[in-house]
Amino acid sequence: MSNELFRTCPESGLQFHRPAERLMKAHAVVAVVILLLGGIAALLVTLTRWPAVHLLPADRFYQLLTSHGVNMLIFWIISFEIAILYFCSSTLLKCRLATPKLAWVGFGLMLLGIIVNNLAVANGDASVMMTSYVPMPANPNFYLGLILFAVGALIGCFIFLATLVVAKDEKTYEGSIPLVTFGALTACIIAVFTIASGAIVLVPTWLWSLGYINNIDAAMYRIVWWALGHSSQQINVAAHVSVWYAIAAIVFGARPLSEKVSRTAFFLYIAFLQLASAHHLLVDPGLSAEWKIFNTSYAMYLAVLASMVHGLTVPGSIEVAQRAKGYTKGLFQWLQKAPWSNPIFSGMFISLVGFGFLGGISGVVMGTEQINIIIHNTIYVPGHFHATVVIGTTLAFMSLTYFLIPTLFRKQVAFPGIAKLQPYFFGIGMSVFALAMMGAGTLGVERRHWDMAFTNSTLAFEYPASAYTLMGIMGVAGVVAILGGAMYILVTVTSVFFGKPVGSESSYGFTTARVSRADPLIVPEGGHAAAGKWGFAAPGTFLLAIFFLVTFILYYAVNWKYLASVWPLS
């Protein structure tokens, strides 16, 4: 191995393969630019759904909502994920990236796809929402852009897999791959399945839009589209859970409570998540109850179980690491003494709590076969997924960025004071935003809708005043969250393009607790459990988990009760 090809980050000890490093940077930069575009659209869309402001005209609103959905959900997240895949393979395994040239071809295709799709949406004849449900037609380039992007991403996935093979062959590590790489592998396997479904649904739809195919069945389209749309959310979950584990390791030197449990939980994702596109089809015509029940529950909620396990083991591993350092007082000293002003940690922790409490609970509740009747396509749905994909995935990626700026880009984090506050603005703003949407959705307010007052319609309808209040709260909180997003863009762009180089860990731009140097195994006397309570190594986390469960049960029960009050249906 030639030495020039690798550089070792003096502070973190991470070893970067230069060609891989350039690719990671390119993907991350594109991702952040897209996040900016999506963020501008988010602002305008939010200001339109805020009833007192109602900013845009209807056609612009639907156009920008399409742009926001596609850019955020597909282009921002997947571009960043490819950077993470390269990091988790090449960097964590200290291995050269397989075929960097081909990786650039993948990058080029992704970028081209982004441009082609965005131009189609900008043209105004592709305002069909990211789901592009047939038979509503869009400019063919809308689908073509998505297809090109998907092919590029698929190349990235295969390069990740090839790099794992190279690392094994060249024996760059001993034993098994790290847990975080294992999580990335999970994400990658799901991604390959997802992209295949995407091809099955989008290629015919593209041909249909060009006039080569006569008819695409609407029900069939939805089944296959959601194999893409839902599984891609599983890529995100696997990826951001990996990022949580990575950050726990980076900031605290935390080790997984047990490799076996965490890896099995990742495996459950692969085994069961694929079935779950059903929960988008619970009120579609003609699907049998048995099919819906089995599939919406991902085969008896075993994948939900997996997320509940990660929800315990990630903070649990932090608690154990903190207790080993002597923060053993009471149940929560470990948490109190955590580095709350370090955005790598604070962002990750808000991401974890928000994903679990807001995104997780609401997702399982609305994915219950019968309860979906009172929630389907209301604004509750975007409320739920902004908690998963924005608080969960996006905020986790943002936190990781604060680590990548000094280690990957070798730049100091600019405006450290702003960086410190950023996760709070973004995380708390988004939480209130999501909760307000869920509240309004419970009152029946629709998603993807320009005018909840029905001003121009022949027949009138009025929502209760509380629905308007909630949509107003949504607007205010959304603007706060967007401010948090703008802070992130300001910090990252300034650091990466104009930042001062780093010289040492103390010049990172903010205080780091400890970067990536895993502690030599300190085991307290009598084992980890002795540093905890009740024979539990992580009693504080356990209590939090029980609190989560109680919240879950109560909210689940309330929704059944609400359902029982609607008209009998059979």
Partner: protein
Amino acid sequence: MSAIQPPAETVWWKQPLDKVEGTWIAIALVWSLFMFFMMPFWHVYGKQNLSSEAYKTTPQAYMAKTQAMVDQYTIRTETDAKLPVVRPPPGSDVYLLGRLWQWWPLLELEKGQTYRLHISSMDWQHGFSLQPVNINTQILPGYEMVLTITPDTDGEQTIICNEFCGIGHHNMVGKIYVTEGET
């Protein structure tokens, strides 16, 4: 070693579980199974379940059936557009269609009676959303969905569209009036 390094024990799968993990997995598994069984339970003991009854159809065929019902049971018209209000007999098959951008026709039903409500789309996908009672389903072209409904509150219910269906989506409104039985 930490989660970004290979596991310290090469045979990590033999490492024993901590009590905190084992306990939580057991609790979470029980809850997961409970939630799973809640759904079939509600099919047996609950009153709000969607049927899976649906038929393949075409816009023309569905339009013909709806028109026949409108011709037979219209009791009045509303607004300048003369939208028909249809009052089909209790227990009968009732046809509602979604098209760009209205729900047609308006319906008048009797409280406490059961109807077989058929819904289909003439063009793109629509979202049947009945407010304020809050019942939401997806409506597809080419598919005729049948819901057996029993209105148990009287007054005016509004059908809005909550699947994006183009530029007039937010104007797509229909009505179901529920009246007390006439005794």
